[in-house]
Symmetry: C2
Subunit: 238 residues, 2 copies
């Protein structure tokens, strides 16, 4: 039980100990020609029944990175994602319950390997991949967090070949171009794009072709990790 001494200590520190930390995750995926993000439908107040980013309070003795992974898993069933922190949002008026500071994480992943989503706690009612261009109204300041995340990957895709992490193992050049166009939000010239991306020598042409299309089948490519490693750091710009 609480003894008086403890209470006094608590009270003295109160000014500094009534902030709460949380983590929100912006997870990007690419599917059917669309850039999507992973959202949950909240099952708790406040904002019950609203769509929101997977996010929750962090635990004690848990690093931020570990929190992000745990929370993402609990709310969506998605596991083992390498996320990166990109901004800390200042929540003086952010949460009706009081002050919350939120560290925002993002990641980019192969949507095809994470199609089935299943929240493992009842904090979330449901989870789904939603087209970035058709987002519903989001809880809290999640709209803003998503926007900043989009900016972030826009900058990153110009400097690191992250596009491949969105694609299936084997992909066509047109698919990569689509990813770039979606993220940069502009049309790119097909010939110039292909020249450029092939010049980096980080792709391996396969003997296979696309299947099941009703037009000329495109050659499939694979991402060459060994060359990528050499390449890393140089950067690409479009």
């Amino acid at each position: 039980m609480l003894n008086l001494k403890k209470i006094v200590v608590l009270k003295n520190n109160l000014a500094h100990f009534n902030s709460v930390f949380s983590v929100d995750c912006v997870i990007f995926g690419f599917d059917e020609g669309e850039l999507k993000i992973l959202l949950i439908e909240r099952n708790t107040v406040p904002y019950i029944n609203w769509w929101a980013l997977p996010g929750n309070l962090i635990n004690q003795n848990e690093t931020l990175d570990a929190s992000a992974n745990r929370i993402l898993y609990e709310l969506t069933g998605v596991k083992d994602v390498l996320m990166e922190q990109y901004f800390t949002f200042d929540g003086v008026k952010r949460h009706p319950q009081g002050r919350i500071l939120t560290v925002a994480y993002y990641a980019i992943l192969r949507l095809s390997t994470h199609k089935t989503l299943k929240p493992v706690t009842d904090f979330a009612k449901d989870a789904a991949w939603i087209n970035v261009k058709e987002l519903p109204k989001l809880a809290f300041d999640h709209q803003q967090i998503v926007e900043k995340g989009l900016e972030k990957i826009k900058n990153q895709i110009k400097n690191q070949p992250i596009a491949f992490e969105l694609l299936p193992e084997k992909f066509t050049l047109t698919q990569i171009q689509q990813v770039y166009e979606l993220i940069l939000d502009k049309k790119l010239d097909k010939r110039n794009f292909r020249k450029k991306i092939l010049n980096f020598n980080i792709l391996k042409e396969l003997d296979e072709k696309q299947e099941g299309v009703s037009f000329r089948a495109a050659t499939l490519y694979k991402f060459d990790k060994r060359k990528y490693t050499q390449f890393f750091g140089k950067g690409i710009s479009f």
Copy 2:
């Protein structure tokens, strides 16, 4: 006084309410051909008498940005600096007193206008500008925070003309080049540098010359804010 109800509420929330937020500031300045950062000498345990970044706990009802400004002022006497958040450090084992999460801020400023430093609280014993290349051992994980800050401005100087914020109002081309060389940590070709920087059309050549030097006096330049604004966003690369 505390009533029982309040205590219970406190206790229930305890798991989430015993993290503490702090802010650390990495302030860059340029002087006498050296890139310096602003450090304080701590006057409190832990790490009493150690050099450290200006940093402290944030207050309730204070935005992160406001905290950073207040803390910088209290510990160094430096006021009204536009700082930018760049990373949140995860302090599970960071502080002997318990868990602390630290939001790191950086700024770049004209050292000449902030030469006199004077802590206004006795949390800091002293404050000083220290050459980045000759840093003492720093308290906590401040070494790491500084390194990440250096990376940050390295990336930024390639894309935004932040160098001017380090220089006095009137400066020579050689001085800007020095700033670039210090931050990028490599030698640049004089002719190419001058061509490039002048081509951006963000400098205004003055009728004045350098004074008090025992060699040919260099032309002074001024930063042209109007042209800068048009220019902003295009980026520079070296």
